[in-house]
Amino acid sequence: MSPPDQTQSFDALVQPDRVHRDVYLSESIFAQEQERLFGKAWLYVGHLSQVPRPGDYMTLDLAGQPVILVRATDESFRVFFNRCAHKGSMIVSERAGHTGRAFRCPYHSWTYRLDGTLLAVPAQGGYDGTQMRACETGRGLTEIASAHYRGFVFARLAASGPAFDAHCGAMFHAIDALVDRSPSGEVEVAGLPLRNIVPCNWKVYLENINDAMHANVTHESASMAAERVWSQAPAGVKKPMGIEILMPFGSDNDFLARMGGQVYANGHSIFGSNMSIHSCYSSLPDYETAMEKAYGEERTKHILSWVPQNSIVYPSVAFKSAPQTIRVIRPLAVDRTLIEVWAFRPKNAPDALLERTLLYNRIVFSPMSIVAHDDIHVFETIQKGLRTSGNPWVSLHRDYVAGEGDAPSMTTSGTNEILMRNQFRAWRQYMAAENAYAVQA
């Protein structure tokens, strides 16, 4: 890669129709992304169904910083840095739990109310006449800006920045598409998440979520195997859900183009804005009846007919409305990404709906996924392939038209790489805060 003393501008790395390999390979750029991009963007935290009662909490890392989501009172929730105000010990270490009315630090037993304020300090006389209560220490747990839309909680690490609605509001209809699939208009997390370590840069993964043209190539092994097994099934057998999930991975390029795509400001996108490989799943009769009872025939038809492939709230989460599932993207290192996959149970819907989501996630998003294995193989080789000298560029040229980035939002073909270029436009905006960086070897 480039010599250590070289300084380049992000504009030179991210051109309108191609990007320099350093954005995937440079540790220095990765460190700056953590600060400038993940430090400023609204990041997905969790779902309110994971913390139903006051005192319930869950923990996670955002851009390498441990945080806690806690239900404070029935209505309110808060997100704090998971760091004791005293000497920095983490307040809780379980991924989820219940803390009662207060948090108690395991180091010197300082306690905090659910709103983060300091409740008690042992032998507090020792602080009489000191600055402890007047400085940061006395303020208790540091809170982070947080907001939710229909139970999906997001947080922003930076103390100031755009409001959640302004920044992510364009994607709320994609969240509606998931939640409205519940006859009661409510969903809840079903079980634990599938957790994957993927050996690639987070952007390789995020671009792939919008990559129509890879599906029938990379996943040929899975769709062909499903087709072969299905062709040997005795006549008259109902097509099993697993086969129904696997075969459309072989959809042809014409179908993939007709799926449609939509890009929005701030890097957000919908791949499959017209239809998707999920559109052809067989209907579940009991479910449709329940939906019609709740929403009426017309609105039910409207809800069930819109099945985008992937809706990305850039840069941390991708929604599917059917199956009801999300993928959460957490960069760990320049070439290592954690992907968490959460399934959602639509309340008051027949079990078959959740069963399809669970099956889909096992087949497609699990560490044992026979679909993702071929993706992961390619992702890993990209990290290696990009190290070759000669051509430092990654192509994003497909269907590029000069000036396309001027419109904040546009609809296009499913195979247009504008869905990736749009991510890089947002990337450049985030990163350009100080428009230069020092490349590390």
Binding site: A190, N196, S221, M224, R345, N361, M368, S369, I370, D374
Partner: protein, 161 residues
């Protein structure tokens, strides 16, 4: 009423099952499963049902067959170079042997190593086999694999722990 297979026959069956996977003899391995069998890796040892919650894997015989056919195909890029695995099993404890119900349940701690190219990783856990006798031979009705780190962020597991 079935004839009770000896404890040794049950143990040999379980060792053979692992050996077939380790040798890559997947079709013979699949033949060990009963028609409605389930191969299940839950996300938690507490999980009592694969319905209603996520699992790392939960496959019927048909999906296992898809998995095997895929591995043999020329376009299974993740199997180039091919993954190899090795099971190291402790002697299985027989938890239940009910000839009336034709149900034999065993549990064994194991190590599982998977390698591909220069990379290698290992998993450890307990494997439960629910078996029955069909036409005089043992068949797997359920194979449940509880990894001790099932809830951890895992690398891709290419074969069959």
């Amino acid at each position: 009423m079935t004839t009770r297979p000896t404890n040794d026959a049950i143990a040999q069956f379980i060792y053979n099952e692992a050996a077939l996977v380790d040798a890559g003899r997947y079709d013979e391995w699949l033949d060990l499963f009963a028609d409605e069998a389930i191969y299940w890796l839950p996300l938690s040892a507490k999980q009592s049902d694969y319905r209603g919650e996520q699992s790392i894997a939960c496959e019927d015989k048909m999906l296992l067959n898809v998995r095997i056919k895929r591995l043999k195909g020329p376009r299974a890029y993740s199997n180039q170079p091919p993954a190899r695995c090795l099971h190291v099993l402790q002697a299985p404890a027989i938890e239940e042997a009910d000839t009336k119900l034709n149900r034999f349940i065993t549990r064994a701690p194991f190590f599982y190593v998977e390698s591909r190219g220069d990379a290698q990783f290992f998993l450890a856990g307990r494997v439960l086999h629910r078996l029955r006798v069909e036409n005089g031979v043992l068949r797997i009705v359920e194979k449940r694999v509880d990894l001790i780190n099932a809830d951890a962020a895992l690398p891709p597991i290419f074969l069959f722990p």
